[in-house]
Symmetry: C2
DNA sequence: GACAAACTTTTACCGAGTCAAACTTTGTGC
DNA sequence: GCACAAAGTTTGACTCGGTAAAAGTTTGTC
């Protein structure tokens, strides 16, 4: 029952292999153009095993969601006392960007990933669903802290909007062919603009 | 080629019949438990015809989306001069509620509709997608008015968050069995709280 | 080395959604 | 009215995502 026995290692390796093979095929030919059966064969595994590790086909591509969610929740949960959630998340986004993290939206890896994401409605829909999960996770944390469920859901929604809008702004520019370094440089101001709006509201924009 | 020839009338009638029959079945037995083939048979029509009118199974149930979208966009587009989008939408939500409109979330018709919606992940996902479309439509309007695409997307996202959070708050209470009249009365304050947050931001909530 | 538990494969199946071709109904020009 | 074109519907066959159950294989444990 060792946590790092052969069994566990093999499982992780298989899962990773399937996800990698799948992503490769998707980036080459597009999400809809690749069947799960093909992925299974290319990974040397049965179709059933693929669905064993990834409940939906979309999860083959969006397999880092759990990590992202945990990361964001932790950024809020472990913020220093006196720092608001908005401030913690703002800093977190700046950190991701500075570290060149893929989830900052501006990544040197190129437009492959985001092209796949944007080209498939099913994938896009799942992506939105995951953003929703993020908002729900935030709401839960805030509700724990304050006891006000409605206000917590609103605040969670507003902050999640900032995160996702920042992200998709960068993504759209990259897919459109803008220079990666330029986008990355300009994202700093974009992040601040987004969080300023979430913190202080839309006011009477647009007039 | 008359706009109200027999042809057009028949088409509208068929579409409506299919949607009504489908909703009836879904409310009786749940979304996943009813197949498209069953809907087709119950409506006296072929499966292919169903997909002719409704591209996805989910659209059989969420067939009022186009109306809702147009309604919300129009509320923003036709707002009097000097009134902000936030203010226009706030009023619009109050109006829906006062009129007892289903999309206010608090409706006397009972929990049937929302039970179906909440009980199916596929349906819920589609619902979120439609909310996303609303946000995009707002963003387009704001961009036309101001020329600032990013700020417009952010503002659109924040306002859409208010609308959807207000809605789902009411929906959850109704599904949970709360008294319809009570929910409805209390929604007035909920709407104002949501739009206050969208207009003035989360500040340093939750501390 | 034997046995149980965990993982994988096989086979068979269901339902959503697509395609093309045949068929029926409606609108239009005479 | 009647013929013909256009639009809408049906049929049947098919693909693919996803599930279920049972048999087979690998790993951990005594």
């Amino acid at each position: 029952m060792a946590d790092h026995g052969l069994r566990e290692r093999k499982k992780r390796a298989t899962r990773q292999l399937i996800a990698d093979v799948a992503s490769g095929l998707f980036i080459q030919r597009g999400f809809e153009e690749v069947t799960v059966a093909e992925v299974a064969e290319a990974a040397g595994v049965s179709k059933m095993t693929v669905f064993n590790y990834f409940p939906r086909k979309e999860d083959l591509f969006l397999d880092r969601h759990a990590d992202r969610l945990a990361d964001l929740v932790s950024a809020v949960r472990t913020r220093p006392p006196g720092v608001s959630a908005a401030e913690a998340l703002r800093r977190h986004q700046h950190d991701l960007l500075a570290a060149g993290h893929p989830l900052s939206g501006a990544i040197a890896g190129g437009p492959g990933f985001w092209w796949v994401l944007k080209s498939s409605p099913a994938l896009t829909a799942r992506w939105y669903e995951q953003e929703r999960e993020i908002a729900e996770a935030f709401a839960e944390v805030f509700t724990e802290e304050t006891g006000d469920a409605f206000r917590s859901r609103m605040a969670a929604g507003l902050l999640t909007t900032a995160i996702t809008t920042v992200f998709s702004h960068a993504m759209n520019r990259i897919v459109a062919g803008d220079d990666t370094e330029t986008v990355r440089r300009e994202q700093v101001a974009v992040i601040d603009q987004a969080f300023d709006l979430a913190e202080h509201g839309v006011g009477n924009y647009p007039g």
